[in-house]
């Protein structure tokens, strides 16, 4: 697949503080989720690949062109920053129209483009209000409108769902997915796993400035097979169940939550554990209310991989 964003040995530090280190990636069309805790280097990575910051080492190209201070490449890129920053004495409509004008659209085209973008994020009724009167969620949606107003080929979104209400989260996620359907490239950074999970299964895990793992969530899931798994079982006779599990080699740790009658097991062999658990439930008629595995979502993957 054609490379859209390509980085080679990308490193960036701020004085003595490491931002990102030795990141080599080849991102093609589709939605790429950039995942990591606060301070992991996600925003730094986005700032370097969007040309706001220079890398100390390595190179970055978007659609085969260098990025820093190369304004020609920005025609094809839409960027939604993490900051809650605006020209607040303008109306939402004026702001987005200005962005469209900077992309070379005539006044009438810019008005039309701005209207479409503002409509997409549901702010048409508020377009003539001053930005300083917008709520946080509205401002966030306005930033997204600014990023998509010129219909970019590459969309970079830094924590795009921050402060947005649940209803609009769903709609914004759909807008992002629609971009994928158009064959565009979307790079979304977030530290909230369910947000990324709702958009894509193609993820890059960043931790301490380095790419920790990348690929399809299922591939990453396979990577952690050698890591211990947590499984929580809510059961009336949780202590009896624990007694029957604890002498097995593949059980590494057992914890109790008396108030909710929950048993949490740590195992390094999920298959053997579940085989045994099924057998015990049937043989001893344990009344199991719930079995949950934190590993079933990205949080589990992420926590294990970064060793938390």
């Amino acid at each position: 697949m054609k490379s859209v964003v390509k980085t080679e040995n990308l490193s960036k530090w701020y004085g003595r503080i490491l931002g990102i280190s030795d990141i080599s990636l080849d991102i093609s069309s589709g939605i790429k989720g950039l995942l990591g805790p606060n301070g992991a280097g996600k925003s730094t990575f986005l700032k370097v690949i969007s040309g706001q910051l220079k890398s100390n080492i390595g190179s970055v190209q978007i659609l085969g062109q260098k990025v820093f201070a190369n304004h020609n490449v920005y025609k094809k890129v839409g960027f939604c920053p993490e900051y809650d920053s605006f020209y607040r004495d303008n109306t939402g409509g004026e702001q987005i129209e200005f962005f469209a004008r900077l992309h070379g659209f005539s006044k009438s085209e810019a008005q039309k483009k701005a209207e479409i973008a503002i409509d997409k994020v549901g702010l048409l009724d508020a377009r003539d209000k001053l930005i300083r009167e917008y709520s946080l969620g509205m401002r966030q949606r306005l930033k997204i409108a600014g990023a998509i107003v010129h219909d970019p080929e590459v969309l970079m979104l830094d924590e795009p769902l921050r402060g947005i209400d649940p209803l609009w989260r769903v709609k914004i996620i759909q807008i992002i997915k629609d971009y994928k359907e158009l064959g565009r490239t979307v790079i979304v950074a977030s530290h909230i796993l369910p947000e990324i999970e709702a958009m894509t299964s193609d993820i890059i895990l960043i931790h301490q400035g380095k790419v920790f793992a990348q690929g399809d969530i299922h591939y990453i899931r396979d990577l952690i097979d050698s890591h211990p798994h947590m499984i929580s079982i809510t059961c009336k006779d949780y202590r009896s169940l624990a007694a029957k599990l604890i002498d097995r080699d593949f059980i590494l740790d057992v914890q109790f939550q008396k108030d909710i009658e929950r048993l949490t097991i740590k195992t390094d062999n999920r298959d053997q554990f579940f085989a045994l658990l099924n057998r015990l439930i049937v043989e001893h008629r344990f009344e199991v209310k719930e079995i949950i595995s934190p590993d079933d979502n990205l949080q589990g993957v992420f926590d294990y991989l970064i060793g938390r």
């Binding site: 701020y14 730094t44 910051l53 020209y87 962005f99 900077l102």
Partner: protein, 262 residues
């Protein structure tokens, strides 16, 4: 988008922003204070012809000093430094530097917008001051010529100072402090030094082109060993062009870290 088109877009947006801003309104009110003082002086002069000082003398001796020597450098410092600083502080620079426009277009567009804004503020003050002082002699050619000379000198001063402070804001983090030290330190002292040393100040060239021939303005040009008019105009324009050229180069190549980054 080309350089000229980007300058036009940026100029248009930031000029409108500037006009609406509270800062511009505050500076406009401040620029009107001398007008009020002159109005009072003129009323006293008209009602009491024997008063020891006329409004015209106050205008020449004090008000010009306030406008030319104080308000212009401060306005230029404020708006010149704001060109980049406000974008960095408000974290809005990102919207401009990720737009498909040449970076120098951002700098020059904002520079021109703020110079025009400053010129309007200063020149309105000067115009009202002139009208008040000369309300009984409005059509006298010498006064009108002198007024336009002040306007022209003020505009050249604004260009040179704004360019200089735009350059400072492009390369120095605390450009406002640097600017204050420059205005109230270097410029305030060195312009009064004898010989060629005073030529290392911007104010030297501004004062050299002021209509300073009248006896009343001697106060303003104390210790001035003026350069020629043409030389002064060329040097003020050169300061503007070189400062904006270097500032554009710096802005083109410099990265601005907006905050502690993730």
């Amino acid at each position: 988008m080309g350089l000229i088109a980007s300058i036009k877009e940026i100029f248009s947006f930031f000029f409108k922003q500037g006009i609406k801003s509270k800062k511009a309104k505050v500076f406009f009110v401040l620029s009107m204070i001398p007008v009020v003082i002159l109005l009072i002086a003129k009323i006293i002069e008209l009602t009491n012809p024997d008063s020891f000082i006329s409004a015209s003398q106050i205008f020449n001796r004090v008000m010009v000093v306030i406008y030319i020597q104080l308000m212009i450098p401060i306005l230029a410092l404020f708006f010149g430094s704001m060109i980049i600083n406000e974008e960095v502080e408000n974290k809005t620079l990102i919207y401009l530097t990720t737009a498909p426009i040449p970076r120098p277009g951002i700098l020059i567009g904002k520079f021109l917008a703020y110079v025009l804004l400053s010129a309007i503020i200063i020149n309105l003050g000067l115009l009202f001051a002139f009208l008040v002082v000369n309300m009984d002699n409005l059509m006298e050619f010498a006064y009108i010529k002198s007024f336009f000379n002040f306007l022209g000198s003020g505009l050249l001063a604004l260009l040179a100072y704004s360019g200089f402070f735009a350059l400072a804001s492009a390369v120095i983090k605390r450009s406002m402090i640097f600017g204050l030290l420059f205005i109230f330190g270097w410029e305030s002292v060195v312009q009064y030094l004898p010989g060629t040393t005073q030529k290392f100040t911007i104010m030297h060239y501004v004062k050299s082109i002021l209509p300073a021939t009248s006896e009343n303005v001697k106060f303003l040009v104390f210790r001035l060993q003026p350069s020629g008019n043409v030389e002064s105009i060329v040097i003020l324009l050169l300061i503007t062009i070189v400062a904006m050229g270097v500032a554009s180069y710096a802005f083109l190549n410099k990265e601005y870290i907006l905050t502690d980054t993730d």
